[in-house]
Symmetry: C2
Subunit: 364 residues, 2 copies
Amino acid sequence: MNRYFNFSAGPSMLPLEVLEQAQKEFVSYGQSGMSVMEMSHRSTVYENIINTAEQDLRDLMKISDDYSILFLQGGASMQFAMVALNLLVNSKKADYVNTGQWSKKAIAEAKKYGQINVVASSEDKTFSYIPPLPANIFDKDADYVYLTLNNTIYGTHIPDDRLPNTNGVPLVGDMSSNILAEPYNISKFGLVFAGAQKNLGPAGVTIAIVRKDLLGKHQAITPTMLQYSIHSDEKSLYNTPPTYAIYFAGLVFKWVKKMGGLSAMFENNKKKAGILYDFLDNSKLFKGTVVPKDRSLMNIPFILPTEQLNAEFIKQAQDLGFVNLKGHRTVGGMRASIYNGMPIEGVQKLVEYMEKFEREHKNI
Amino acid sequence: MNRYFNFSAGPSMLPLEVLEQAQKEFVSYGQSGMSVMEMSHRSTVYENIINTAEQDLRDLMKISDDYSILFLQGGASMQFAMVALNLLVNSKKADYVNTGQWSKKAIAEAKKYGQINVVASSEDKTFSYIPPLPANIFDKDADYVYLTLNNTIYGTHIPDDRLPNTNGVPLVGDMSSNILAEPYNISKFGLVFAGAQKNLGPAGVTIAIVRKDLLGKHQAITPTMLQYSIHSDEKSLYNTPPTYAIYFAGLVFKWVKKMGGLSAMFENNKKKAGILYDFLDNSKLFKGTVVPKDRSLMNIPFILPTEQLNAEFIKQAQDLGFVNLKGHRTVGGMRASIYNGMPIEGVQKLVEYMEKFEREHKNI
């Protein structure tokens, strides 16, 4: 079997042992006499799968019973509308922090449904930093404050200990690219959501964690399928959910537990990212694009002095089995996305290649 | 390996050889060095997968270039809103035919966005027939006419040769439970949609086939993700689609082609349903619940004279490996869902069991 080190920003590398377990039970799951894909979502065997997945995620992230955990569809892009339609129900005002392309899309979408104020932005420097977020920039009357917690494209993040004080206004966090990768105190949030395809499993399932006091309201025009309350009331079984994707995410949750939980993931991710950042900080050829204090543990953009060198580096990397290293067109250069599923060997070997590349190009 | 005959209404039985192929290449697909689940949706290898799936579906259903084929999320329940939000844009009136629970849900959802007229209904007799649909019941000024083509719960269908004349008003069809099971001339429709989890693959991908002249308009309140035009313009890659579910549906399309295409599926489905209906029509104990002319080829509800016998039949069936035969609570009794993935042996063996059950209960 031929497996590459896949640095894709998402969908992305999944733990090999989880893939192998899913493969083993793919055609016939346990004593069920069928594939998980073939199970009625209303069957006892499937209800056990989805309930176990929910409980494991609750344990891993220490989510209290004040929150509903929902398995939805449509990715973060659907959440951009769903958040606004469900939460813009009192003052119909919300404060957004603009830290990249996904924040911008969320802002554009929310503007259809209320008065959106962009209270801070790092667009002036290609989103290479997180803007200061003092309490006095937030409107006490807003329905919520919206943050992108990890910026996949630009490689910045807002860790738990730098979440802003919003004067009691519910905080909404897009955790798509760092869920289960670093710890957050969920009780600081009103709502958190994440597409699965980076740290959790296959694309097609989206997790939403919603504080229950925020449920029960939505704008009148909201499609039924976009009402958090319906999915909370029906325990994510209002209609057929993406059953297989939820099952697979459940296997990933078990794997994270087995690996030592979220704190072990966090330590491992700091170690993995540290290897790469240490190299970048000491390199005379490669350069990280993000200010050190705001660097993501998941997405690490870096550049070489010329476009030609970038292209040469990416081409050679591909031949060596380091794939999907091309950076986003708005940043250029390279980006290594190193989610939970990327083994430390992948980062070590990438850095060895970068060292070799630097030695071979030291006279440039 | 232990495999049951699974008569679930959906998710439901998939072709064993497709499951086995997907299992084989689950961890590492071809020369890609990764699982399909781990592939960037923007990679060449994945674009080839989704483009091939689209072309195969186009070939199988003889869909002309006047139509866009979209891979969406959210199931039919999301389409109930999406159809209305995208098509209620001129007179903001639409005609709906009420043939069961799914039609009712579609009607309730569409009422949020326009003036919905229910022009025919079979609710008076528990939806056990298809009401007459003469051309004069339809409003020439309506934006569309809406039909559920196969009623999963009640076991009725509207075959291609009984589609109504709508005086040129676009016809919208919910084909969730009979797509690729019986032929329809797509050129009679403005829009057709189908959740995948019955005849196409895993839950989590929804196919929409939209006539291109209906694209480009939507109500102003429509979330971006619910605009058909966006998905058509971006070839279903506006955001990360449910990549694995699309891949699996693509394998099913290849399988249908290999089996002889849609006409072969149709012949096989008539044969399978015929075995069960012939038995029901000749039984003194079992009784089909649908008027013969409107019987579905996919979902076959039937009853025994007493609740006790129904329960006994279902219990024994389960022990014999015929699972998920319990009927929907609004119809009672039993329902055998026999989609494309159900082998003819499953139906033959079920009927053998029914014959045996009847012999053993002939004095009741």
